[in-house]
Symmetry: C2
Subunit: 343 residues, 2 copies
DNA sequence: TTGTACGCGTTATCAC
DNA sequence: GTGATAACGCGTACAA
């Protein structure tokens, strides 16, 4: 007999236990101190028997805490964000937080819209990866103003402003390692396919590349930098361009782009890694799927995501919590990098 | 001066407009009928000036409608679900619904836990893709009982029970087409790498394969069926096994598995498509990334997802709405299927 | 149109 | 110290 279960109220529990609602509330929220043990027992018992659980809506209305975190990402279909959001959701669920997910579709107006919407829903915190657009001056000012006005704890994930709380991979250091891998294999003419340079992730990776080259007394000429969008398509365009310019190795700032580079090489009749070495970034599953397994930098997505959650929860709790941090990516050496013929 | 904006209440708006809260509520909810136009204007004006927006929590507390849909998927990091959830979120946002996302991590206990949790939060509807486990008898009974008791509109997505509302790709028909493609190229010894056969998606695809073979007077021997889990790894295992058994073509029930088949072929020194044709399912982006572009069945994820949302919203609205449906996948012929040497 | 009860808890106040 | 009473949070719905 599956009766539709109407909601059990706290009054019913109180009645059953023969105490006041107040008492029930106190007991169930662990503010027992002043209540005699036998009473506590009776209350708990009654609550259990009636399958009582407090209504989050009613509770939130008065406490102004929803136990919900809002996440805004450009596109959950992007494997990087998908993985990150998964980790976040699982990590937050352990702390009894739920997640409202929003896709900005890489449009700044949606960033704003969703942030307002989430604030309107009284979420306890925000995890934000704004659109690339958000990082140009007029837009970032609007974003900052909005967040300042809102008074909701937030952190930036992967894309960020230096002066606001953020969590990300150590882009500079990781790119330094990646470029180092190519240099160590004797490559001296190295092309890079970047993501949007409006994003610190790409800018910092570029800086890392430059540092690595610098240590070899090299510089990165502008015409060996192709600015893309972290997707297969721009990888292909960039790969084509760079190969024509005679690079012996390409560092693609995402695995998707690395895939594009593979495609362009194939199309041009060049072999990887014989004619051109390639290194990617992310270690998304496609790296293990390519005909020539892709060397890449593996982001510790899970660690970053779960630490990011800790950080946010710390701030929600009122403290400063953990401060902004970056974690290094690890080099996963596979078969797409080979000694240069000049080596 | 960005003052922290405390919430504006309906009272303030009422006061400013010189009317009662009731009137404000009526106007703002479009139940104007009985209110003179000038009053409406004054109210709207006041609301605008004060930046008033109704508190969803308070509203939900009384209406028992949250404008939230709960989505439970096994793993948002799976590109198929990522894409689907993205489409759903966007489609629902257009109708002013937000999405709480849960990953069951393919564990049945989590299915139940999350469904209860979402129900506790009074979500207006549920979109469910239960764990594979949920489809074995004792578990499915528990799931059914829970849903029956809950009295919340729900639909199943991709994995389903025939007698409950669902939305999915037409697995049988699509697999029939895929197998037909192989048969049309002269292949007669065809192996399949399936997903979990507990899932109707895999069972129905298998049925489609059998129907196609049947039309050629063939049957599918058990030892040419490898049951996997839709992932690269099982694709590789299956590919290895089937290739050893001398198939001339493999139908992998997911692109990830097709990737695995590619890997196994490579490892065994076989070429695709010369030594073995391969066809996949999903058209996830990896298909366009492989050295030999993968022929595959493209699921109309967006259409299914958005129709699924319509269906759910219809049910939330009280009507029966659209009933369960499936949409056909489309054959995307690329280079991984070639005429059999026996052809 | 509007007053008022109500939804369901939490918290502050007050009496025992 | 214990526990009941009442106000409150913020809207919506119904009767007047």
């Amino acid at each position: 007999m599956s009766e539709k279960r109407a909601r059990v109220t706290i009054r019913e529990v109180a009645q059953r236990a023969g105490v006041s609602q107040t008492t029930v509330s106190l007991v169930l929220n662990g503010k027992d101190a002043s209540i005699p043990v036998p009473t506590r027992e009776r209350v708990r018992e009654a609550a259990r028997e009636l399958h009582y659980s407090t209504d989050p809506l009613a509770r939130a209305l008065v406490t102004r805490r929803t136990n919900i975190v809002g996440i805004v990402v450009p596109d959950i279909a992007n494997p990087f964000f998908a993985q990150a959001v998964r980790c976040m959701q699982v990590a937050l669920a352990e702390r009894r937080y739920d997640v409202i997910l929003c896709n900005s579709e890489e449009r700044f107006e949606n960033d704003l819209r969703y942030i307002r919407l989430l604030a309107g829903r009284s979420v306890d915190g925000l995890i934000l990866t704004p659109s690339a657009e958000a990082f140009s001056p007029p837009e970032s000012a609007r974003l900052r103003a909005l967040l300042a006005q809102l008074d909701i704890p937030y952190i930036f994930f992967d894309r960020y402003f230096e002066d606001m709380p953020w969590a990300a991979v150590d882009n500079e250091g990781s790119a330094y390692l990646a470029a180092g891998e190519l240099l160590a294999h004797g490559h001296r003419v190295i092309g890079v396919v970047t993501g949007p340079l409006a994003l610190n992730s790409s800018r910092n990776r570029l800086a890392g590349v430059r540092r690595a080259l610098g240590e070899y007394g090299l510089i990165l000429p502008d015409d060996l930098i192709f600015e893309g969008r972290y997707d297969v398509e721009t990888g292909q365009l960039g790969g084509e361009l760079l190969l024509k310019r005679g690079v012996s190795a390409v560092f693609a700032f995402s695995d998707m782009q690395a895939c594009g580079v593979y495609a362009s090489a194939r199309r041009m009749g060049k072999r990887i890694p014989e004619d051109c070495s390639v290194i990617g970034f992310d270690d998304s599953f496609c790296s293990s799927v390519l005909d020539v397994p892709l060397s890449t930098m593996r982001q510790p997505v899970q660690e970053i995501a779960s630490q990011a959650c800790n950080m946010l929860l710390g701030r929600i709790g009122g403290g400063q919590g953990i401060s902004s941090f970056s974690l290094p990516a690890r080099l996963i050496a596979r078969a797409s990098v080979k000694n240069s013929e000049n080596a």
